[in-house]
């Protein structure tokens, strides 16, 4: 036998872990602290009102990321596949939101107002029901048509299938609805840009209604999902399938049905995220799911993929970092994604399975 095969490898691979990694960590911490000191105490560019605004924006976008990330994580936890088309499922939800409000706008009620202004709560509820329904259905059929036959295939194959599905859905939406950018017309009380006004440091900081709505609803949905997964029989089945499909089947769990339902739930959550996107950001077009999809995937990995609280934490964390990071470090806003990704790399260097990931996650993949 040849030498390299037998040689002990501990020294070389541990050189990095023992020496370089702490060094790198120290360097990064020193750099960040230095920049923070410069920005906060030397330059003092931003007053408290700016920090508040940044934080609000970060939390809102983080809430949406979290909701989409949950969808990734749910599917990943069970099938170990990256559902690349998840962002497109969200896009369908956003389109549903647009169409619902367009339709409700044309309905006149007796007071002469249109339906969505007269009954805003009902209108938003309809938008959510339709959006979540459409997205859940598309998630369900996506699994049934494109992923189920590939369950036994090598691990990367469903990923490519998902990429194909993502390209297909994007182009289908473009061809169906034209590539035009659409603006969702909210009910008047939820007009974008209106909100509670707080006076900080002599400047009006607006906490938008749509933003608070988005944030609160994200967390309600996440809490609901957590209860479903932890307390119901469906949740138990999902966890069992995630742990071991064969054993779960032997215990009488219908694996196919459980996976289908997982896709239903993850699709519905993406749909909810899409509707919120429509209500808060307003802009809907066929490519709208792509960037949030990638970001949410990042968030899911950041939190430890397959871990529900991890995805929530990762989403919020990513949103806040994207929003606060450039200002806090005094770097161009153009580079916010660089900051987010560098942070991701650093976190994964020190915690290879994400913020809340199980230590042994690497054994699964």
């Amino acid at each position: 036998m040849n030498e390299p095969y037998l040689r002990k490898v501990t020294l070389k691979s541990n050189l990095f872990i023992k020496v370089l990694r702490p060094l790198l960590g120290a360097l990064i911490v020193i750099f960040v602290l230095f920049r923070l000191y410069q920005v906060l105490f030397v330059q003092q560019e931003y007053g408290p009102e700016t920090w508040t605004r940044l934080l609000i924006a970060g939390l809102i976008i983080g809430g949406v990321y979290a909701l989409i990330a949950i969808g990734y994580t749910l599917v990943y936890g069970i099938l170990f596949m990256i559902n690349f088309a998840h962002g497109e499922v969200m896009m369908l939800g956003a389109y549903s939101c647009f169409f619902v409000f367009e339709a409700l706008k044309t309905i006149r009620v007796s007071s002469g107002e249109n339906f969505s202004n007269a009954f805003p709560v009902l209108a938003i509820l309809i938008a959510f029901i339709v959006g979540m329904g459409v997205s859940a259905a598309s998630g369900y059929f996506l699994e049934k048509i494109a992923y189920r036959p590939l369950r036994k295939a090598p691990r990367l194959v469903p990923l490519i299938g998902a990429i194909g599905a993502s390209i297909f859905l994007q182009n289908a939406a473009q061809l169906l609805f034209s590539p035009q950018l659409r603006d969702v017309t909210n009910p008047e009380v939820m007009r974008r840009g209106s909100g509670w006004s707080v006076l900080i440091n002599g400047s009006n900081v607006i906490i938008p209604y749509t933003g608070v709505f988005t944030f609160v609803l994200s967390f309600l949905l996440l809490a609901g999902l957590y209860i479903v997964v932890q307390k119901t029989s469906l949740g138990r089945a999902m966890r069992a399938v995630a742990l071991d499909k064969k054993t779960a089947a032997l215990m009488g769990i219908d694996v196919d049905k459980t996976i289908s339902r997982t896709f239903l739930i993850s699709g519905a959550l993406a749909g909810a995220a899409g509707v919120m996107w429509g209500i808060h950001n307003g802009l809907v077009y066929y490519f709208v799911g792509f960037i949030p999809g990638i970001k949410a995937f990042t968030a899911a990995v950041l939190g430890g993929i397959g871990n529900l609280p991890g995805a929530m934490l990762g989403g919020l964390f990513l949103g806040v970092i994207e929003s606060l990071g450039p200002a806090a470090l005094g770097i161009d806003f153009q580079l916010k994604d660089v900051i987010a990704f560098v942070l991701l790399i650093i976190i994964l260097i020190f915690r290879p399975s994400g913020l809340l990931g199980e230590v042994l996650a690497e054994e699964k993949v």
Partner: protein, 519 residues
């Protein structure tokens, strides 16, 4: 209630839904237009004549009927016909309702294009075969029913004993021919055939670029560069099993090295092609090592997302304001000069084609040697189980870094040639979608082998060019084909054979020392 007939009705309804979807994206007129163009007929107002639309509907219904009959496992002609007819009627009923709905827009002059982009009045009219709403809808239903029945009939005819026997004979004859050919190839004539093949290939590689015009030279050149990229990524993903999603970053490093050293703006260094190439390739490899070093502990999707992030970081930095003076920012770099060899400057598509062919051959050679080397075996063991590989004494860190460095070097090579050929490179050339394309091509083709990579590159970069006839439906078709390819061949078009260990006879009782690969 799951009798075979209701199942056929369900198939019909599914096809009806497909029909509705295709009409709403305007795919029916596209097919009609293509049919019209094939037969040389004139378009009326940019739309095909009703006859072609009827042909399209008939073809779709035929497919529905055929599928239904085949799924229903009809074993006789009448049963098959019945299945097809049921499917046809079911899809026809759906198509009928849908036609009524869209004709409502026509009758009431409602312009719905604000929401569904294709629904112009002309389009609705031609979808109804230029007939009145009710008769048009009825005609649609009739066409679907007829088509379905025909589909069933076709399936039934194929199911007939006589036809089956005839088909069997034909296929047996083919198999016999193939076996004879194979045995000849394997036998004593093997060297002769191989030599003939190599000469033929050489002739093709030398002669074709001269013959087939700049367009196909360009397309094949792109495919060639993606073969190099695919082989490089195959070392990382296919052999050593590390999922890298930001592979295009290394390509960008090669391209930008070439561009910055070899263009008048922004630095006017003009080193020439070869020095830039010789610098770009090691730089890309170095980037691979530097990226890999801190990430050795990451596996699977964690590695994927980190490398995805790396690719995005490179792209955003290239276009960012802070590096504009260095890299040209979002404008990219124009006027990159081509290579000079023996005093001649490469500028035509033909010369570049030869250069790319040389690069592909080099990459394939290196890949082939690597695959069966000790490094190749080490990678394989890492791919199968990293912990076990480490336990058996494979220096996993070293071999994983080696894979990253080599893969990155391949990408650097492709990137440098790519930039020089296009005379331009910019940050948006190196977006995430490009990485995904490369990953898709190695998986579609079949991971870990050279022919698969070549075929995959054709599928991923050649297919969209061939699909140009589909105009705006190009990517839609492409996405659908990607899914279909994965569903029908989950292991890729040419699956890799696992190397078999042949135990030499004289040492059969001992542990095999030397392993031979048969692949």
């Amino acid at each position: 209630m799951k009798t075979p007939i209701t199942r056929s009705a369900r198939t019909g309804i599914i096809f009806g839904i497909i029909h509705v979807f295709l009409v709403l994206i305007g795919f029916n007129t596209l097919v009609g237009t293509l049919l019209a163009r094939l037969s040389g007929a004139q378009l009326i107002n940019a739309l095909p004549a009703p006859g072609f639309m009827i042909t399209y509907s008939l073809l779709l219904a035929l497919w529905a009927g055929f599928t239904a009959a085949r799924k229903g496992e009809a074993n006789s002609l009448p049963v098959s016909l019945a299945h097809g007819a049921v499917a046809g009627v079911a899809s026809g009923a759906l198509a009928f309702c849908f036609s009524l709905v869209i004709s409502w827009f026509l009758v009431n002059r409602v312009d719905f294009r604000q929401y569904l982009a294709v629904l112009s009045f002309d389009f609705i009219r031609i979808t109804l075969f230029n007939l009145a709403p009710l008769s048009g809808s009825l005609a649609t239903a009739a066409v679907f029913a007829t088509g379905g029945a025909l589909g069933g009939l076709v399936n039934g005819v194929f199911g007939l004993k006589e036809v089956k026997a005839a088909l069997g004979k034909v296929s047996a004859a083919f198999t016999g021919l193939r076996h004879r050919l194979n045995s000849n190839l394997r036998g004593k004539y093997r060297p002769v055939f191989l030599a003939a093949g190599v000469i033929l290939l050489a002739a093709v590689v030398i002669l074709l670029p001269l013959k087939w015009g700049s367009y196909w030279n360009y397309v094949t050149g792109t495919v060639g560069l993606y073969v190099v990229l695919g082989l490089g990524l195959n070392i990382i993903v296919g052999l050593s099993g590390q999922l890298v999603l930001g592979y295009i970053a290394f390509f960008a490093i090669g391209a930008y090295t070439m561009a910055l050293l070899n263009s008048p703006v922004p630095h006017n260094l003009m080193w020439g092609f070869w020095p830039a190439l010789l610098l770009g390739v090691p730089l890309a490899a170095l980037a691979g090592v530097l990226l890999g070093l801190p990430l050795m502990r990451l596996r699977g999707d964690y590695l994927a997302i980190v490398t995805l992030g790396f690719g995005e970081i490179i792209r955003i930095l290239l276009k960012s304001d802070i590096l504009t003076d260095l890299t040209g920012g979002p404008r990219g770099i124009q006027n990159i000069s081509g290579p000079t060899l023996f005093g001649r400057t490469f500028n035509s598509d033909i010369q570049f084609m030869y250069l790319i062919a040389a690069a592909v051959l080099l990459a394939a050679f290196v890949y082939n040697r690597l695959q069966y080397s000790r490094a190749g075996r080490a990678w394989l063991s890492i791919r199968e189980d990293e912990t076990v590989a480490r336990a058996t004494g494979v220096n996993t860190t070293r071999y994983k870094l080696l894979a990253l460095a080599l893969g990155a070097a391949f990408a650097g090579l492709a990137g440098a040639i790519f930039a020089s050929r296009n005379q331009f490179t910019g940050p948006e050339e190196h977006s995430l979608m490009a990485s995904i394309n490369v990953l898709s091509l190695i998986i579609v083709g079949g991971m870990g082998n050279i022919p698969g990579t070549i075929l995959g590159a054709f599928a991923l970069k050649g297919l969209p060019e061939i699909l140009r006839e589909f105009a705006n439906y190009r990517l839609l078709t492409f996405g659908a084909l990607l899914v279909v390819m994965m569903l029908s061949r989950p292991n890729g078009m040419i699956p890799s054979k696992r190397p078999k260990y042949r135990i030499p006879k004289e040492t059969a009782d001992d542990t095999p020392r030397e392993a031979r690969h048969d692949g």
